[in-house]
Symmetry: C2
Subunit: 422 residues, 2 copies
């Protein structure tokens, strides 16, 4: 398996597009509100994306567990209930949630793109991200649909456009593709994602779409998704707030011509590994680009008696506000690591825990068997000042492990989420 | 029942003291570290407190649920296992957790105060709050014990001193007392508390001690505590980090001469109401003085089918980083209220929810039956800019309700917890 360019159009038979239709507000030329317009993306920022295959795809997804779900989540669930779609249409700038006519507008988006491309509405998944509680400007979207369809392309720029059209406060686009051999055929997967970004007056949402030209049944694809997503996207936390719109979708159109994957054979395992690679990469990019984040925080718990305990402990560490603030200050507050493990709900012996901070600058063991180690504060500061900091936690129970990803808590997070009007 | 002055010495037979022994560091006269010393309290700040009765007390408590517990928590649990103590000794500046000899040092504190006062070590509860992972300077404490005992007094200033001696980054002392009639006798209760305050390099801890001169059995006192604490202190969240040292203790010495409360009669109910009043007051003060907080956020969920669901929903709202940041910005982001309810784990119908923001400046209904209401943004900003903001959530399921308290998320929180060394 190797990385290749092309994002979601790397896989055969897939095209993409991303354009601006005006759902995202334009900046207000008002000197008193210098920050407000920025999260919207400002004038000219793309806000409508399309990914479409030249044939029907096996489709599988996972969705927000929030009880308050945006209308497009319900519509997409209905449309992939038969295990197939042809494509995905997605807008940013408005979450189409808790707002008038949200279900109707989500269906209108599918109706319009289906009519434009000569397909059926149920052939499309639909996603939205942005403001909650304001009616979607569906008119802008509908009038943009012909232009969107017309700009479909398999040029790598088209994937770039789609990746940008789903961004909200993301500061970098998130895109990756890989290539592997399956049954003597070259199979490609590509993905784009957006992270937890805040838009006035609401909402951080995770969206990620992966295309794949492997031949695989919807059931097997769903099995892979349910193995991969809990170990990748579900191990990212930026602020603990699960959005109403979170959606992960993978579409596999079979254009690679590999033998159909219809049971859990070697090819299944290889494709799962490839999707794990794609999703790990996108999940890490999402954590690193968390709102206001200045660095990626990775916590791996080793030596656990089982993976779910390791995950629970690791998630509690990267989710701790105190730990996140300490990481912003590059402060080796290992006590906060133990404290967060302690309230995670997982059982462990606090006197059988080692903690080490590491980064490209080196590593600093700070706690051995639950008790403090002496360390050089200046060196620790250097280690913790890098773009990625890893917190290695070692238990002495077994050999299971799990990794979760988060980011530091910064002034900028508070600013983005609270202060943009002042 | 009425409020009276005197804090923990308002109840008959109780004395208190608070002095400085040097556990809290003094400020370093280094122009490059202007912030560091402040959270410690600086030179001259009190760091050792004592509360003591003139007779044995019924005692009951509740403690941190963190699996990583500080040594004094274990020692105190042992000492109140028989339902009685005479007093409480507590230091700030060091949590005596995850550090060498922590259990020994906690026991030494009890030994020393017991010897000084001619009592037994098991007659004392012991508490610590401050740095995790550094050995307690127990020598400073032990040499301060004679002076601590000598300054015991029932003057209201003594309660003030004790309240200040347990403060860390708290910006105001937290103290209250009330008086009521029980069986024809005047009964008094008084309490002090410290909130979630950060000390280098770690730790926010909640400590609260209540004295009471009612006659009540240890078992009945414990029953009251277990009814009151889950509805008061356990409904406060500042940053979701449960400390290793959290302790609530109530001591009742019977000096009021009321008929002994030994079952759940009218007097039991009246005393429970009084303790609820005390703990609600201290819990609200703790939330309002959360690290970096600029305002108290109160969320009441009404119309729930049961109290535990109402509590879970309310806690999720006041614990949401996004909502907390919005409250800092005085931004009426009601979508974040629904979003936080949605991931709380409690079942409810998102289309059967009303949300209103209110404060002394007025009230702003923002959501009716799950959908947006029009409101005046300027007026909403005014309502949300007050010292206390109440979020009223109405369901249409039943008549149970619950209130939780939190605070906004500010630059100052990030600064206190991350930036003090830079």
């Amino acid at each position: 398996m190797k990385e290749i360019p092309g994002g979601v159009v790397a896989a055969k038979g897939f095209q993409a597009a991303g354009i601006r239709v005006g759902v995202k507000s334009s900046p207000v030329p008002d000197g008193n509100q210098p920050i407000a317009p920025v999260p919207f993306g400002g004038a000219g920022k793309k806000d409508l994306a399309l990914i479409c295959s030249d044939r029907v795809c096996s489709a599988a997804g996972m969705f927000t567990t929030n009880q308050v779900k945006a209308a497009p989540v319900y519509v997409t669930k209905d449309h992939i209930a038969d295990g197939t779609v042809w494509g995905i249409i997605a807008n940013s700038g408005n979450a189409n949630a808790c707002a008038p006519n949200s279900r109707i507008h989500a269906e209108e988006m599918c109706d319009a793109i289906a009519e434009e491309l000569g397909l059926s509405p149920a052939d499309f998944a639909v996603c939205s991200t942005g403001v909650i509680g304001q009616e979607l400007n569906v008119g802008a979207i509908l009038s943009g649909i012909p232009g969107l369809a017309a700009s479909l392309s398999d040029d790598p720029q088209a994937s770039d456009n789609a990746a940008r059209a789903i961004m909200t406060t993301d500061t970098v686009k998130k895109e990756i593709a890989v290539e592997l051999e399956l049954g003597g055929k070259t199979v490609r997967l590509g993905g784009i994602a957006k992270g937890s970004g805040m838009i006035h007056p609401n909402m951080g949402t995770m969206l990620s779409f992966v295309t794949c030209d492997a031949a695989i049944t919807p059931h097997m694809l769903s099995e892979i998704v349910h193995e991969v997503v809990p170990r990748t996207f579900n191990r990212v936390t930026v602020d603990g707030d699960t959005s109403t719109n979170d959606t992960f979708l993978v579409l596999a159109n079979g254009a690679a011509g590999n033998p159909l994957i219809e049971w859990k054979n070697e090819d299944y395992a290889a494709l799962k590994d490839a999707l794990m690679y794609i999703c790990t990469d996108l999940a890490r990019k999402m954590a690193a680009d968390g709102e206001g984040a200045s660095r990626l925080i990775t916590c791996t718990v080793h030596g656990s008696e089982n993976e779910s305990k390791a995950e629970r402990l690791s998630r509690s560490v990267v989710g701790s506000s105190l730990l996140k603030a300490a990481m912003f200050g590059a402060d080796a507050n290992w006590g906060r690591v133990l404290c967060a493990m302690g309230y995670s709900g997982a059982n462990f012996d606090p006197e059988q825990v080692d903690v080490t901070f590491r980064s490209v600058a080196g590593e600093v063991p700070v706690c051995k068997l639950g008790s403090a180690l002496d360390f050089d504060e200046d060196f620790a500061k250097k280690v913790l000042s890098q773009d990625e900091v890893v917190i290695d936690v070692k238990l002495y129970e077994g050999d299971a492990e799990a990794t979760c990803w988060g980011c530091d808590l910064t002034y900028e997070y508070v600013k983005i989420n609270g202060d943009y009007r002042s």
